[in-house]
Symmetry: C2
Subunit: 141 residues, 2 copies
DNA sequence: CTGTATCCTTAGGGATACTG
DNA sequence: CAGTATCCCTAAGGATACAG
C-alpha cells in the first residue's frame, strides 16, 4: 500500500477517498443550495441520514478542513457548520454532478433546453454559488 | 423511500448513486487518461482492484449505459470497453475531482501555478479529453 | 486473456434509546 | 437542540482458486 494507507497517489483517487462516500457531498450540497447550518438542518434532509452517520461525517469533514464549526452567538445552544475555502472549492464538483444528473436522470425531468442553459451559464452559476456559500445563505440554481 | 429505491430524486444524489462508489470513476479515469480498454488493463491499475469487484463494476457501468462492450476484431479473445456519450459526459466531473485533488493533496505536489493553469485551460483540456476518449486513445493532461 | 465462484472479513450504515 | 451510545445487519470488498 502507498503512504498514508491510500490506494494510490492519483489526485482523482485522493478526492474520492476524501469525500467520495455517499453522504459527504450531500451535506455540502445542503449548505450550498439550501443554506443549512445545523445538525438538525442536515438531519431533516430528504435522504434521511442517521444520527450516528451524520455525526461521523460532520466530524470527518471538519477534520479534513472542509467544514468549520462554531457556536451561534445569539443562541449558544446552536452549533453552526460552514464551508471553508477547501469546502467551497467543492462547488464546481457539485455543479458537474448536478449537471450530469440533470441530463441523465429521467426522474428530474429537466428539459434539454434547461440543461443546456445550465451548462452555458456554468461560470456565472458557480460564481453565485460561491458568493452565497460565503454569505451563508441558500443558493437556488 | 422514493421510487426506484433511491434515497431521493435530487440530481446530485442520482449521480452519486450511479457512479459514486470507490471504483467506477477510477475505471472511467483509466479509459480517459490512460486509454485503457480491456479487463486486464483495468486489473493492472495502481489501485489494485480485485477481480470480482472489477467484473461487478464493469457490468454495472455497462448496464447503466456508461460503458459499452465489444469484441476486438483483430483479436477475438479481447473484449474492449469504451465510453458511451453518457460515459464521456463524466469527463467534466473527473476534471473537477482532479483539479480539487491537485490543489489539496499534498502528495501530488502540484504547484499553485500548475493548478491555476489547469483551471484556466479548463475548456480546452476537457475538449481534448473528449476527443481522445472518442478516438479511444490516452489523454495526458 | 477474461472472467466466475467462493469464502471470509469488515466498515458502513439503519434503528433506537439515551444524555448534557 | 445536538449529539452519544449500542446493537444489529448487510452490502462491499479482499483473497484465492478455478474455468472457458
Amino acid at each position: 500500500m502507498k503512504r498514508l494507507d491510500r490506494k494510490s497517489d492519483c489526485a482523482i483517487n485522493f478526492s474520492l477517498e476524501t469525500f467520495g462516500d455517499p453522504w459527504s457531498l450531500l451535506i455540502v450540497r445542503d449548505i450550498v443550495f439550501f443554506g443549512k447550518k445545523t445538525y438538525g438542518d442536515f438531519l431533516a434532509s430528504e435522504e434521511r441520514i442517521g444520527t450516528s452517520v451524520l455525526a461521523n461525517r460532520l466530524m470527518a469533514l471538519e477534520k479534513q478542513g472542509i467544514l468549520s464549526k462554531s457556536t451561534n452567538q445569539a443562541d449558544k445552544r446552536k452549533e453552526e457548520y460552514r464551508l471553508t475555502e477547501k469546502g467551497t472549492d467543492l462547488i464546481p464538483v457539485l455543479f458537474e454532478l448536478m449537471s450530469w444528473g440533470a441530463k441523465y436522470d429521467a426522474n428530474t425531468g429537466a428539459s434539454p433546453k434547461v440543461i443546456a442553459q445550465l451548462q452555458k451559464n456554468r461560470k456565472g452559476v458557480i460564481a453565485r454559488a460561491y458568493t452565497a456559500a460565503h454569505k451563508g445563505v441558500a443558493f437556488a440554481a
